[in-house]
C-alpha cells in the first residue's frame, strides 16, 4: 500500500497528489511514469511523475479526472492508501545538449511539460514555454512554469486569459523570431500532431510524450504499441517520448478510443483542444 501524503486541487478537474514511494523516488528521472491501481478491483493506469523528492522518498502525480479511475482517485485524501504504485517506468527523456528549447504543454499536459522545462532549466538551457488551456478557470501551474522559463506564453481557446488561440499560433510566431534546437510538446494527441507539423519544416527536433492505453507498463502486453517512423514500438519501454516528426498520430488516436463505449464517459484530454 502506498500512502497519500498531500493533495491539492489545481483546478476543477486536475488534482495533484504526493505519494510515499521511496523506492521509486530514489530512481525516477524526468520523463518517466508510474502505473497505479487504486484497489483490488481497480484498473492499472499510467501517470507521469510530475515531481519527486529523493530525500523525502515521495513522488508527485498530477492527473485530470477523465474517467472512473481518475475520478475515484480524486476523492482520496491524505492518509488514504493506493493499493499499487509501480515504477519508475519508461525511459527518461533524452534531452541531448540543446542551447535553446521551447516546451509546450496543452491542458493537463502542462503537468508533464513543467518538469521537463524544469529539468532543462536546471541543465542551464534557455527555455521558453507555451501553455495552452481551454479557458482561464483551468489554468494550472502558472507560477511554477514562469519560474523555470525565460518567457511563458499562455493561450486560451476562448481568449479569457493570455492570448486567444492555440499553442501552435504562438509557436509559429516564435519559430520566425527565435532559433530553437529542441521542442518538447506534451498534451492532447492533436496538439502534439500539429506542433510536430509546425516544427518539421523549421527542422527543430521535437519530442512528444505519448499516452497510449497501457496495462503492465513493462513490455508484456503490447497494448501500448505505436508506430514511429514505420516501426512498431512499445511506448512503455521504448518511450513514452518519441520523435514527434515520426509518430503515426492518427493510429494512436484510433487505438486510444477503442474502449470509449466500455468506459462510458466521453470526456477526454483531446476534448480540450481542437484544430
Amino acid at each position: 500500500m502506498y500512502r497519500i501524503l498531500d493533495k491539492r486541487r489545481l483546478n476543477d478537474q486536475v488534482v495533484q497528489m504526493t505519494v510515499d514511494a521511496p523506492f521509486i523516488a530514489r530512481k525516477v528521472q524526468a520523463g518517466q511514469f508510474i502505473i497505479l491501481r487504486i484497489d483490488e478491483r481497480g484498473e492499472r493506469i499510467p501517470l507521469t511523475v510530475a515531481d519527486f523528492d529523493r530525500a523525502a522518498g515521495t513522488v508527485t502525480i498530477i492527473f485530470q479526472t477523465v474517467g472512473a479511475t481518475t475520478q475515484r482517485l480524486a476523492t482520496f485524501e491524505p492518509g488514504d492508501e493506493i493499493a499499487d504504485f509501480v515504477g519508475p517506468l519508461g525511459r527518461p527523456t533524452e534531452f541531448g545538449a540543446p542551447k535553446k528549447a521551447v516546451v509546450i504543454g496543452g491542458g493537463v499536459g502542462c503537468a508533464i511539460a513543467y518538469p521537463q522545462a524544469k529539468a532543462l532549466h536546471e541543465m542551464g538551457v534557455s527555455v521558453d514555454m507555451i501553455a495552452g488551456f481551454r479557458s482561464k478557470d483551468i489554468v494550472i501551474l502558472e507560477p511554477e512554469m514562469r519560474a523555470v522559463s525565460n518567457h511563458l506564453y499562455l493561450t486560451t481557446d476562448d481568449g479569457s486569459y493570455g492570448e486567444k488561440g492555440f499553442v501552435t499560433d504562438v509557436l509559429k510566431r516564435l519559430l520566425t523570431e527565435e532559433s530553437y534546437d529542441l521542442c518538447i510538446a506534451i498534451g492532447p494527441i492533436p496538439m502534439m500532431k500539429f506542433v510536430s507539423k509546425t516544427t518539421e519544416p523549421a527542422g527543430v527536433k521535437t519530442l512528444v510524450s505519448l499516452n497510449p492505453i497501457m496495462i503492465d507498463g513493462t513490455g508484456m502486453c503490447g497494448g501500448c504499441r505505436v508506430t514511429v517512423g514505420g516501426e512498431v514500438k512499445f511506448a512503455c519501454v521504448d518511450g513514452p517520448d518519441f520523435d514527434g516528426h515520426l509518430v503515426d498520430y492518427d493510429e494512436l488516436m484510433r487505438r486510444n478510443s477503442f474502449y470509449r463505449d466500455e468506459e462510458a464517459h466521453a470526456c477526454r484530454l483531446e476534448a480540450q483542444i481542437h484544430d
Partner: protein
C-alpha cells in the same frame, strides 16, 4: 487386480455448451472412487517408463499404488517429494508427451490417466484441514528471487525449507506469473495458485509485488542490499507480432494483452474496472496452449464465431491434446493450414476482416516439422472483428540489459550452466527466462535445481 479397461476412467466435466458460456473450471476432477478405479489400471512396470518421461521424476507408480490403496495423503506426499505444484501440474502438464506418452498401457488403448490422478491427490489434500506449517528455523542468509512464476515460487519454497530468508520481487500486483495472468480460470482456478502462494508465505517467504527489477532496483543493487544470491525467474513475457500489414488496427491484440485483461484484471467480471471488448467474430492466430486459451476465452465472452488460424496441420500443433479437444467441443472452428497475410480495417481503423492464404506442408524444416508453403492464388478473407495473435513470446530484455556481466543468447535467453548459474557468480536463472516459452513443469524443475545449487554455493561461500 489390474483393471484392464482400454480407456481411461472418464473425468466428469461441464457440458461443452454450458461451459463455453462461463469461466468456471471445465474438468471437475475424479471422485475418490473414480480415482481408485483408474489407479488400478497401472501395471507397475519394473522399469517405470512413465517416470523417465517426467521432467521432475515424480515416482508415478508409487503414488498411483497409494491411491489404489486409498492412502491419498500418502500419494500426495509421494508426489510432493519431487514436485512443488501438483495441483497445477496435474491440470496443465502436457502429459501426452511426457509421462502418459511413455505409459505401456498406451500401446493398446489409452495410457493410465496419470495427470488426472495427480490432480486428484492434490485436490484431495487441499480439502483436508491445513497442517500447521511451522516456518523452518532461519539461517539468517538472505536470497532474492525475481519473478513469482512457477520457477521463482519453486525456488523460493525449496530455499525457505532449507532455512534461507527468501524475498520474491514481482513486477505485477499479484504473484503467480503465467499461472495468474495467462492460463484462464476455467483451466486453472486462481484459488489453487493463491493457496500455493499462501503456503510459501506461511513458510516465511516474503513477496514484494509492484517491483519491476531493472527499473526500481537492479540486480546489483539487490546484492548490495545484502542478498547473498539471486534467482531470476522472469519468464518469457514479450509478445511477438507477425509484422503483417494492419497489426496496428483497432481490435488487434497480443494474446498476452487479451488474457491479462481477462485473467489478471478480471475484466469479464462485474465490479472490476478494466474494460474488455465483446467481439462478434474472432480470429486467433497460433496453435499452442496460448492460442487455445485465447480462443476459448473469446468464446466465453460471447463471440459467435471463434477461429483458430494455424499455418500447419493439427499434428504439428504444440497445444496439449486435451485443450484442442476441449476447444473443438466448445465450438471453436479450426482453420488449419491457413496463414494470415494482412488484417483489414474499416474507415475508423477497426478490424473488419483478415486475409489468409492456404498452405500445404512441404519438406521438414529445422524443427523437424514439415514446412508450410503457400498455395498461390488461394487467398480469402475471414470475416472477423478482432484478431488475437498467439504467435510466441520471448524473454523481456529488461533484466539482462541492466545487469552487467549477465549473458544472453541470440534469442535473448539467459545463459546458464548445468547448476543454473548465469555468467554472473551468485546469480542463477531458470524457467522460460532461460529456455524461452516452455512449460510449467520445466520451469518448476529449473527452480528446484537452482535452489539446490544456491544452497551448495552459499554453504561453500559462507
Amino acid at each position: 487386480m489390474t483393471n484392464m479397461a482400454q480407456t481411461k476412467v472418464p473425468m466428469p466435466e461441464q457440458a461443452p455448451d454450458v461451459r463455453n458460456r462461463n469461466f468456471e473450471e471445465v474438468a471437475l476432477g475424479y471422485t475418490a472412487d473414480l480415482a481408485m478405479e483408474e489407479a488400478t489400471r497401472c501395471l507397475h512396470c519394473k522399469n517405470s517408463p512413465c517416470v523417465s518421461g517426467c521432467p521432475v521424476n515424480v515416482q508415478i507408480p508409487d503414488f498411483i499404488a497409494l491411491i489404489a490403496a486409498g492412502d491419498f495423503a500418502g500419494a500426495y506426499a509421494k508426489i510432493r517429494e519431487t514436485s512443488a505444484l501438483p495441483a497445477v501440474c496435474g491440470r496443465v502438464c502436457p502429459q501426452e508427451s511426457q509421462c502418459e506418452g511413455k505409459c505401456v498401457r498406451g500401446i493398446k488403448g489409452e495410457p493410465v490417466a496419470i495427470g488426472r490422478l495427480e490432480r486428484f491427490a492434490a485436490d484431495w489434500q487441499m480439502q483436508q484441514p491445513p497442517v500447521d506449517a511451522q516456518p523452518p528455523v532461519s539461517n539468517g542468509i538472505r536470497v532474492a528471487v525475481i519473478g513469482a512464476g512457477p520457477s521463482g515460487l519453486t525456488c523460493a519454497g525449496d530455499l525457505a525449507r532449507l532455512g534461507y530468508e527468501v524475498t520474491i520481487f514481482e513486477a505485477f500486483h499479484t504473484a503467480g506469473g503465467v499461472l495468474v495472468y495467462g492460463i484462464p480460470e476455467f483451466r486453472l482456478p486462481k484459488e489453487i495458485v493463491r493457496r500455493e502462494i499462501e503456503g510459501l508465505k506461511a513458510m516465511g517467504v516474503k513477496i514484494q509485488t509492484d517491483m519491476v527489477i531493472g527499473k526500481v532496483l537492479s540486480v546489483d543493487e539487490i546484492i548490495e542490499m545484502g542478498y547473498r544470491a539471486v534467482f531470476i525467474g522472469s519468464g518469457a513475457g514479450l509478445p511477438q507480432f507477425l509484422g503483417i500489414p494492419g497489426e496496428g488496427a483497432v481490435g488487434v491484440y497480443s494474446a498476452n494483452e487479451f488474457l491479462t485483461r481477462i485473467n489478471l484484471m478480471k475484466a469479464y467480471l462485474d465490479g472490476y474496472d478494466t474494460p474488455i471488448k465483446r467481439s462478434r467474430a474472432v480470429a486467433v492466430v497460433g496453435g499452442g496452449n496460448v492460442a487455445m486459451d485465447a480462443a476459448r476465452s473469446a468464446k466465453r465472452l460471447g463471440a459467435e464465431q471463434v477461429y483458430i488460424v494455424y499455418r500447419r496441420s493439427e499434428a504439428e500443433m504444440p497445444a496439449r491434446k486435451e485443450e484442442v479437444h476441449h476447444a473443438k467441443e466448445e465450438g471453436i472452428e479450426f482453420r488449419l493450414l491457413n496463414n494470415p497475410k494482412r488484417i483489414l480495417a474499416d474507415e475508423n481503423g477497426r478490424v473488419c476482416g483478415m486475409e489468409c492464404v492456404e498452405m500445404e506442408l512441404g519438406e521438414p524444416d529445422a524443427s523437424g516439422r514439415r514446412r508450410p508453403v503457400e498455395k498461390p492464388g488461394s487467398e480469402f478473407v475471414l470475416d472477423v472483428d478482432s484478431v488475437i495473435l498467439a504467435v510466441g513470446t520471448s524473454p523481456n530484455p529488461l533484466i539482462r540489459s541492466t545487469t552487467p556481466g549477465i549473458e544472453a543468447n541470440r534469442r535473448g535467453c539467459l545463459v546458464v550452466d548445468e547448476s543454473m548459474q548465469t555468467t554472473k557468480p551468485g546469480v542463477y536463472a531458470g524457467g522460460d527466462a532461460v529456455t524461452g516459452a516452455a512449460t510449467v513443469i520445466l520451469a518448476m524443475g529449473a527452480g528446484k535445481t537452482a535452489a539446490a545449487s544456491i544452497d551448495a554455493y552459499l554453504q561453500q561461500n559462507n
